[in-house]
């Protein structure tokens, strides 16, 4: 009895340790390879140079075009997903009947299960041609349609996390609002959404973090041209897309070109790490407030 108990305890400990070790390993690889990169390219150049052309004869190592591409697609995605996701969350919580909720919620979850490569082709073959009819000068590969489709992809994330946040607001607050003669709209936006705001912010941050890390849709639909621009109609490249592009190419291991992956990777890692910590911090603060 005691022996089997010990074995199980050991197995549990081992699983926990493995995840920690893997994380440490990833960070170690990222760091050591990036350090190699930054021995050859100064951090100042990395941050201030306006072009990113490590694979060309005239090599330039400015990460900003990739960061700009990432921010641009993420911004578009959030601009699509936040209003839609929040509206859905409010609708499900305040307006929909129980039966409606039972139908809509699983349908939304389906959106989250579609492989991103399908989204990518949807952006390239459906959304882009459609947008080109409205905006004639738009390039075939662009940040706009990739961003919009990415926004659609993260709607369920925002809507379901926000819905959880809104429905965890104490019922007594909703009753207070209704009891004062508030309409449903006034109750939702004046009381429920503000009371759930930290949960909603967390959902948005996690969605941003997902959008920043998203690879397939932008690789397929946004083009692969690093460009320091906020124009959504031209081809751009995101950090993730660059990593894919180089990883799949025939760049010799150990070369400077090879090390750029890790420099880009660590930049991406810093972004998502900061975002996840921010959401963790907000969540913690929010829980303290309600206890």
């Amino acid at each position: 009895m005691r022996v089997s108990e010990k074995i199980i305890e050991g197995l549990l400990w081992l699983s926990a340790v493995i995840t920690v070790l893997v994380t440490i390993g990833i960070i170690w690889v990222l760091l050591s390879e990036s350090i190699g990169f930054f021995r050859q390219v100064s951090i100042v150049e990395f941050l201030t140079e306006k072009e990113w052309t490590p694979l060309f004869a005239n090599k330039k190592f400015g990460i900003m075009p990739l960061v700009a591409g990432t921010l641009l697609t993420t911004l578009i995605a959030i601009a699509v997903a936040l209003p839609l996701g929040l509206t859905i969350a409010i609708y499900l919580n305040e307006y929909a009947h129980a039966r409606m909720r039972q139908i809509v919620k699983p349908l939304l979850e389906v959106l989250a299960t579609i492989p991103t490569v399908v989204y990518g082709f949807f952006a390239l073959t459906v959304v882009t041609p459609f947008l080109q009819q409205i905006i004639p000068g738009m390039a075939g590969f662009n940040a706009l349609s990739a961003g919009i489709v990415m926004g659609i992809m993260i709607i369920p994330m925002i809507s379901s996390l926000s819905e959880d946040a809104i429905s965890s607001v104490p019922r007594s607050l909703r009753e207070a609002a209704y009891g004062m003669g508030s309409t449903r709209l006034q109750t939702s936006f004046g009381v429920m959404v503000p009371a759930a705001s930290s949960g909603i912010i967390v959902s948005v941050i996690l969605a941003i973090s997902r959008a920043v890390g998203e690879t397939m849709i932008v690789a397929i639909a946004a083009g692969q041209q690093p460009r320091l621009t906020m124009n959504p109609l031209v081809p751009i490249e995101t950090i993730t897309t660059y990593i894919v592009q180089v990883s799949m190419g025939d760049v010799p291991q150990g070369s400077l070109e090879y090390k750029t992956i890790f420099a880009a990777g660590i930049t991406l890692f810093i972004f998502t790490f900061a975002l996840n910590n921010l959401s963790f911090w907000i969540k913690k603060k929010y829980q303290e407030k309600y206890d």
């Binding site: 007594s172 207070a176 003669g181």
Partner: protein
């Protein structure tokens, strides 16, 4: 004393939660500017009944009523009645204090703000008046911009009363307003109810027989969804007509 007008009336009121028959053929008339207490054991339907007067049950899936509820002679379950307008006329105070997570000031003026009143002087005056009316002004006048959640439970409940008074309803529904409070706060709330009946028609649900005796003019005793007895509070507590009422108020069940 002159005869007061009838303020609230229920005519053959039945209410159902799905298949459960929660209120059975209730008939009652409540006069204005008086306190009516609803008493009865848990689950007897008194809270459900209270909540039909501002249609707070509307949001419960499967809830329905037939019969009529009249406010000043008008049936509030008619299709053309807007519930948000109704609730400006019929204010409510809940069992657990439920201030909004906003400042004290914002809580009191909430009802005015959602009606589109923005003028600061109007809001400030209404806030002071309501807080005075709810006997809370002296305690909070220097910290109106502090969070309402920092107040004590009793103060929060008086804040909720002030919030309800700010939109000048004519009826105030109170659903066990003192059951979550300590004895001193309870006494303050009871005192307040006594003062408020000069201006408002008050209906209060309570588990506490002594409280019903202290604050109300009339008492209605509910049991298993039926209105068993309804009379002047004094008469009811000294010489109840029904045996069930007698058993309940003497504490033989409940």
């Amino acid at each position: 004393m002159s005869k007061k007008n009838d303020k609230l009336e229920a005519l053959d009121l039945n209410a159902y939660y799905g298949d459960f028959h929660a209120l059975k053929g209730i008939n009652i008339v409540m006069e204005e500017k008086a306190v009516t207490a609803f008493i009865g054991p848990s689950g007897c339907g008194k809270s459900t009944f209270l909540r039909t007067f501002n249609r707070m049950n509307d949001y419960i899936d499967g809830f329905r009523v037939d019969g009529q509820i009249l406010l000043d002679g008008r049936d509030i379950y008619q299709k053309d009645v807007r519930v948000d307008e109704l609730r400006k006329e019929v204010g409510m105070v809940f069992q657990k204090p439920n201030p909004f997570p906003k400042s004290i000031f914002e809580n009191v003026v909430y009802g005015l703000k959602i009606q589109g009143i923005k003028k600061k002087s109007v809001l400030e005056e209404a806030a002071e008046q309501s807080l005075r009316h709810a006997a809370l002004w002296e305690e909070v006048k220097d910290k109106l911009d502090k969070s309402a959640l920092a107040l004590s439970g009793g103060q929060q409940q008086r804040l909720c009363i002030a919030r309800a008074l700010a939109i000048s309803p004519s009826v105030l529904l109170m659903d066990e307003p003192a059951s979550a409070l300590d004895p001193i706060s309870t006494a303050k709330i009871e005192e307040l109810i006594y003062d408020l009946k000069n201006d408002y028609t008050i209906v209060i649900v309570t588990h506490n027989m002594q409280q019903a005796g202290r604050v109300s003019d009339h008492t209605a005793f509910f049991y298993m969804g039926e209105l068993v007895e309804y009379n002047k509070t004094k008469t009811m507590f000294t010489s109840p007509k029904e045996e069930r009422t007698q058993n309940y108020i003497t504490g033989r069940f409940g």
